[in-house]
């Protein structure tokens, strides 16, 4: 854990010199991992002691905070201050969230995963609330591939 704190301290120092785009990308990725639908970042404002309030093109607002114990908190303000708690998710909720993140981080549009079918080759067919559908699979070379289904 000391190593992580060391890393975090280094990263915190580096944060000051990171570009705005890099910070936005980092925040977008974090929100996607937490299962939040953001689209693009429209505005950020710093929050004490460390973190950001993030406004999104989806209309959602998130707070991304780092506690004194280096614990990350992601709070969906527009959903009534609902906090991301991976420790309390069911298996299917976790699978849906992981797939949502894979799709979103691959720059495809999915507002919310509504159904998942697992193929025999460990691929997934994913349907989103916005009617977009995708196949998520790993290539023989080990690359992750997200393909939209027409």
């Amino acid at each position: 854990m000391l190593a992580l704190l060391h890393v975090a301290a280094l990263a915190t120092g580096a944060e000051d010199i990171r570009s705005r785009d890099e910070t936005h990308r980092d925040l977008l990725t974090t929100i996607a991992i937490a299962g939040g639908h953001c689209g693009e970042v429209t505005e950020t404002s710093p929050e004490r002691p460390r973190g950001y309030r993030v406004s999104c093109t989806s209309g959602a607002v998130f707070r991304v905070l780092v506690t004194e114990t280096e614990q990350l908190r992601v709070i969906d303000v527009t959903a009534g201050n609902v906090e991301w708690t991976p420790e309390e998710e069911s298996h299917s909720q976790q699978v849906n969230r992981h797939l949502f993140a894979v799709i979103t981080l691959s720059r495809h549009r999915c507002d919310q995963v509504v159904s998942v079918e697992r193929g025999s080759d460990a691929s997934y067919r994913v349907s989103c609330k916005n009617a977009n559908r995708f196949v998520v699979r790993r290539t023989e070379e080990g690359r992750m591939l997200v393909q939209a289904i027409p």
Binding site: A14, T29, H98, V102, L105, A122, E140, G142, M144
Partner: protein
């Protein structure tokens, strides 16, 4: 420190003793999604690459850590014959977490993504084995 945590903390940038935890891995002995590779993974080099990668930001690293902490707890609960998760479910979650790492890294640091891909089966084998897990 658990292997799973070491694995992801390693991705965090790592000055963590990933090598000490995992030891040298020869993938030829393990089933790998990369196929029947006989190439030994140089984890010293992997650790250096992880330490140097700019592919992940601070908040991203902390969110991955949060997930790994929850996952590690569930694996521990499983090995204690408690909880509701099956081994298949835990493996699915593990694979999806690694997949997500690959998505984050594969276009920005292809060599690192390949190394992570090569190590994934070996790491899971240790997590799934109660005796190996207890030693971590």
């Amino acid at each position: 420190m658990s292997l799973a945590r070491a694995f992801v903390i390693a991705v965090f940038m790592v000055s963590v003793p990933f090598l000490a935890v995992v030891g040298n891995v020869t993938l030829g002995a393990a089933t790998s999604a990369m196929g029947d590779s006989r190439e030994a993974v140089d984890l010293d080099a992997l650790t250096s690459k992880l330490a140097d990668t700019k592919a992940l930001g601070l908040f991203t690293k902390l969110s991955l850590k949060r997930e790994v902490d929850a996952f590690e707890k569930d694996v521990q609960t499983y090995h204690q014959h408690k909880g509701d998760s099956t081994l298949d479910q835990l493996e699915e979650r593990y694979e999806l977490m690694v997949d997500k790492l690959l998505v984050l890294i594969q276009d920005k640091d292809q060599a690192l993504a390949q190394d992570i891909q090569q190590a994934r089966a070996q790491v899971w084998a240790k997590l799934a084995d109660p005796d190996e897990f207890a030693k971590l």
